[in-house]
């Protein structure tokens, strides 16, 4: 792949697996949920990427693994050249200051018994910013950065006194207050009202561009990614099935799953009412017991018997800088 060699790699996932043990009756081992099952990618400093996929395909598990909240079962996460697994307690703490986390449910992500000022000070206190004045100044700066102005009027508010959009801004401010070099946002707008989604996404994107942050943005909504990310990774059943630059992927989807996904997304068009979408039947695969071969083959309209149901497809490059894990491109 002829990547832009000037851009430095910030974070890399190498053959990453995160499996959860399934237990029966509390103690018997009953196999694994393969939430992340062999994922490879590299994020460059300052780029915004989107991970797209259906519910339960392992997006959040991937995010948590990258954040060091889950230990990978196999493979490794490399951040700025250092291996995450090799970090000691101190190193891990430093890493956590370098990577911000924005969760899906803004209300749940904020401790209900702390006011905004306290919520934003917490990371600073934890990372040893002793001086009150400094903390106050940084908290205020973070609030202003997420356009919660005047900052003073928000400092003593409690989460339940804020609207969903404002809550999510506070969450974003909290992710920014330690001045990280990367932000992982796990479906940052899916719990918000449609009318504020765009606003929050633009805010995130603007901050990312201004600060030169790396943004990993997880979503299940392909219609928003074009304007808020530069590259897309499409996930299915714990794997990345297709990856490319945004416009390339949206305009020339290669993997049958991506094609189905794109076909299912309506634009607000009155003609929609007259046509039905081609929707692949069936359900997303069980991660505890994934189908052999290509994970999509049971639902795939183009599945080739004897191949797709037997062998896992490797990444092919049907178009330049556009990877797709499908035997069609063989």
């Amino acid at each position: 792949m002829n990547r832009d060699t000037t851009a430095e790699t910030l974070l890399e996932a190498r053959d990453l697996h995160t499996w959860f043990e399934l237990r029966q009756w509390g103690f018997l081992r009953a196999g694994h949920v393969r939430a992340v099952d062999g994922v490879n990618f590299a994020l460059r400093r300052g780029e915004a990427v989107a991970f797209v996929g259906e519910s339960g395909c392992g997006k959040s598990s991937l995010a948590r693994t990258l954040l060091g909240l889950h230990r990978p079962t196999r493979g490794e996460v490399v951040f700025e050249g250092g291996h995450l697994e090799a970090l000691d307690k101190r190193g891990l703490k430093t890493y956590r200051a370098r990577v911000g986390y924005v969760q899906q449910d803004p209300y749940g992500a904020l401790p209900p018994f702390m006011d905004v000022g306290r919520i934003l000070s917490e990371p600073l206190i934890i990372h040893g910013v002793r001086d009150r004045e400094t903390r106050q100044a940084r908290v205020r700066a973070a609030l202003e950065e997420v356009r919660l102005t005047p900052a003073e009027s928000y400092l003593s508010k409690f989460p339940h006194q804020l609207s969903g959009g404002q809550q999510q801004r506070v969450v974003i401010a909290r992710a920014l207050v330690l001045e990280p070099s990367m932000i992982i946002a796990d479906e940052p707008v899916s719990m918000l009202d449609a009318s504020v989604r765009v606003e929050i996404l633009r805010l995130l994107r603007n901050i990312q561009v201004e600060r030169g942050l790396t943004l990993a943005f997880i979503t299940h909504d392909l219609s928003t990614v074009r304007h808020f990310a530069e590259r897309i990774f499409v996930m299915y059943g714990g794997r990345i099935v297709e990856q490319a630059e945004v416009n390339e992927l949206l305009d020339h989807p290669q993997h049958p799953y991506t094609q189905a996904l794109l076909a299912a997304i309506p634009d607000p068009d009155p003609d929609n009412a007259d046509r039905e979408h081609a929707v692949p039947g069936g359900e997303p695969p069980s991660l505890a017991n994934p189908p052999p071969g290509c994970r999509f083959h049971p639902r795939c309209p183009e599945a080739m018997a004897g191949l797709c149901d037997r062998d896992e497809p490797p990444d092919f490059e049907p178009r330049p800088v556009h990877l797709s894990a499908c035997w069609l491109h063989r």
Partner: protein, 322 residues
């Protein structure tokens, strides 16, 4: 083609009593709906969509302060009916509803087939066997294998549960089905599948729908008519084609511009500001504080102004001069 309306709503109001004051969740709503038509009720969270549906079906919480207006179903005012007659003759049999998050409210210990058959046994007095037979038919209609009749809710995926809930609302063959946010919690593919089912049912059974959603793109999948709600009022009521291509109200225009589209070169816009507090809404046009086209007259509450055939807008821009 003029056709008598199946449902005509006149000046419907619903207000809740709360610790901080009276919340006027539905504040003077008028619309009509013809047989076989699908009306999409669009609006931001908290603008009163669910309250409107509950007001229609008289499913009221205890803290209701006012519930008034007229709702004509064919020629009877169903709000004036005695409670008991309404429950017996109208609910389920003429109008059924899928509540918001109903798929998570299925009874966890009763097989889904029986839950679907239950309205028939209760409201129609059918025998169990006959009701189960009908339940199987409806399962097929909504695209759930009849093998699933004997399963429990937790054995089904979200999409399947939503279909079961849909089946429940269709089993009595009502004239009107109200769906409150039926797909918001579902994946794109699942959502598309359910929208396909709705389209098919509408075509085959000529059922009328009121679909409540805040997702403009999804609403375009089924809408014949669109009613856009803002702070307890319908600010624009129009044919879907008009609404999606040339919306008349400034709020509708901004809303359409804020919808992310897959194949659109420009990024979507956002609507600045926040919806008003329903405890204390502005005296004039409720959208005025956020409206870029605001002018002097907006301090007055706009009437519902007719701008075309079955097209009404609450905005002075379309009004005759003062």
């Amino acid at each position: 083609m003029t056709q008598p309306a199946l449902l005509r709503v006149e000046n419907l109001r619903l207000a809740y009593r709360t610790g901080r004051g009276v919340v006027r969740a539905v504040d003077g709503v008028d619309f009509d709906l013809r047989r076989g038509e699908a009306l999409v009720l669009l609006g931001e969270s908290g603008c009163g969509k669910s309250s409107l549906a509950k007001a229609l079906l008289r499913l009221l919480p205890r803290n209701v302060q006012a519930h008034e207006g007229r709702v004509w179903l064919d020629d009877t005012d169903i709000l004036a009916l005695p409670e008991e007659r309404f429950r017996r003759d109208v609910q389920w049999l003429r109008i059924s509803m899928v509540m918001q998050a109903a798929m998570n409210a299925l009874n966890p210990v009763v097989r889904v087939g029986e839950q679907v058959a239950e309205p028939l046994m209760v409201h129609r007095g059918w025998s169990r066997a006959k009701a189960m037979e009908r339940a199987a038919e409806v399962f097929a209609l909504v695209g759930v294998s009849t093998d699933f009749l004997g399963r429990y809710p937790f054995e089904l995926s979200g999409g399947m549960r939503q279909r079961v809930v849909l089946a429940m609302s269709l089993v009595t063959e009502p004239d009107l089905v109200i769906l409150d946010e039926p797909t918001s919690a579902l994946d794109v593919l699942t959502q598309a599948g359910i929208m396909n089912v709705l389209k098919r049912i509408k075509r085959e059974l000529n059922t009328s729908f009121i679909l409540i959603t805040h997702d403009v793109s999804t609403s375009s999948e089924i809408a014949d008519r669109v009613a856009l709600m803002y702070a307890g009022q319908i600010v624009e009521l129009a044919d879907a084609r008009h609404f999606f291509t040339e919306p008349a109200h400034p709020y509708s225009q901004m809303l359409m511009a804020s919808v992310p589209r897959l194949h659109q070169p420009d990024p979507p816009q956002h609507i600045p500001g926040q919806p008003p507090d329903l405890l204390d809404p502005p005296a004039g046009c409720r959208y005025a504080p956020r409206c870029p086209k605001r002018f002097g007259r907006c301090d007055e509450m706009p009437d519902s102004i007719t701008v075309g055939e079955r097209h009404h807008v609450r905005c002075w821009l379309h009004g005759a001069g003062p």
